[in-house]
């Protein structure tokens, strides 16, 4: 009852509580609501549609399995993107561990296949390259702020950092982007 009162302004958290209580349809609504934000978050971080799709799927699997123990302590988006970021960092670590000579050429192809094959304008290409050059925490912070429109406090909770650290990362990221894109924008 108390949980329900607190989730009035957070409908996804309410859905999660319903899922915890056995309402399977609530899960469908969560997937419907969050699949696009998640896949775009991953896509801007990884530039691979296939990997983004896999990670998005993995976030929902984790979410479903965690449902029986779910408690509404923070906003649902904080909870969701915490899972997403952990998976993303694991993915970075995994790909860094992979020796270059064991790369499968079909994987390289996958990165530029399908939706990735859309022709980018020169400007979009420059944006993408500039974003790629950012350190992971700067990029994640700016994506959560600008793409997901989350508050600094929420970003700080997701990234397990202080609010001032988040502000600094975003400030530095934007300084870097300005420098990188000054001749184009």
């Amino acid at each position: 009852m108390e949980d329900n009162e607190k989730t009035d302004s957070d409908p996804s958290a309410q859905l999660m509580l319903q899922l915890r209580d056995g309402d399977e349809a609530a899960f469908d609504q969560i997937v419907e609501r969050w699949q696009s934000p998640l896949i775009n978050f991953f896509y801007r971080s990884l530039s691979s549609y296939e990997q983004s799709e896999d990670l998005t799927q993995m976030v929902f699997v984790r979410l479903y399995r965690a449902a029986p123990k779910y408690e509404h302590r923070a906003r649902f988006s904080t909870y969701l993107f915490q899972i997403a970021r952990r998976l993303l960092i694991n993915e970075f670590r995994r790909s860094q561990r992979k020796p270059l000579d064991s790369w499968d050429p079909t994987e390289l192809h996958a990165i530029t296949s399908g939706q990735d094959h859309q022709r980018l304008t020169e400007l979009e290409e420059a944006f993408e390259q500039a974003l790629k050059k950012l350190p992971e925490n700067h990029r994640t912070a700016i994506l959560l702020l600008k793409q997901q429109e989350l508050s600094y406090q929420e970003i700080a909770n997701i990234m397990e950092a202080s609010e001032s650290a988040v502000k600094t990362w975003i400030f530095r990221a934007r300084q870097f982007l300005k420098q990188e894109l000054k001749d184009l924008v």
Binding site: Q35, Y64, I170
Partner: protein
Amino acid sequence: MKDPMDTPEQFNDPELLPFDQWLNRSRVQPPANLLTRVRAHLQKPSASLDESIDQLLQQDPDLNDPRMVWKVRAELANEPMADNSSPVWYRWLSPLAAAATLTLAFVSFQSSGPRPAGTDVSLPLQASVESSLPDLDSEMTQIIALASNLEGMSDLSKLESVENLAFLFD
């Protein structure tokens, strides 16, 4: 005074507006069957703790070194590989060089210390070496004696030739 960084407007500078707009546009759409795929994934029984531990302890195929067998075999055959490419006399060079260095260090040490006049300084085993190996010159005798001292040898019968010195350093 309010911290300008507290306002998101601070990050809305016009210079990066095209970037922000691009970032905000959803460029990719999730696959239509994502929910079905997630559900299918969830149908699979989740791994038990034992299975998870087994997976964790499994060998990582990415760390496989296809040349490992070759490397191990090369290591096993190490001595012949190294020695085949060197002349036979080269095998004795290292122990001889070590012995010569030690001799020089020893002699230098002896000559630098206080020495009573008229004292005949010699290695403890030099006399016995000289008597048992009369064919060797004095410098070699000194080397052998020093080596014997280092190894604590009492049996000098093996030291009949320079080549035999090598076994002291095995």
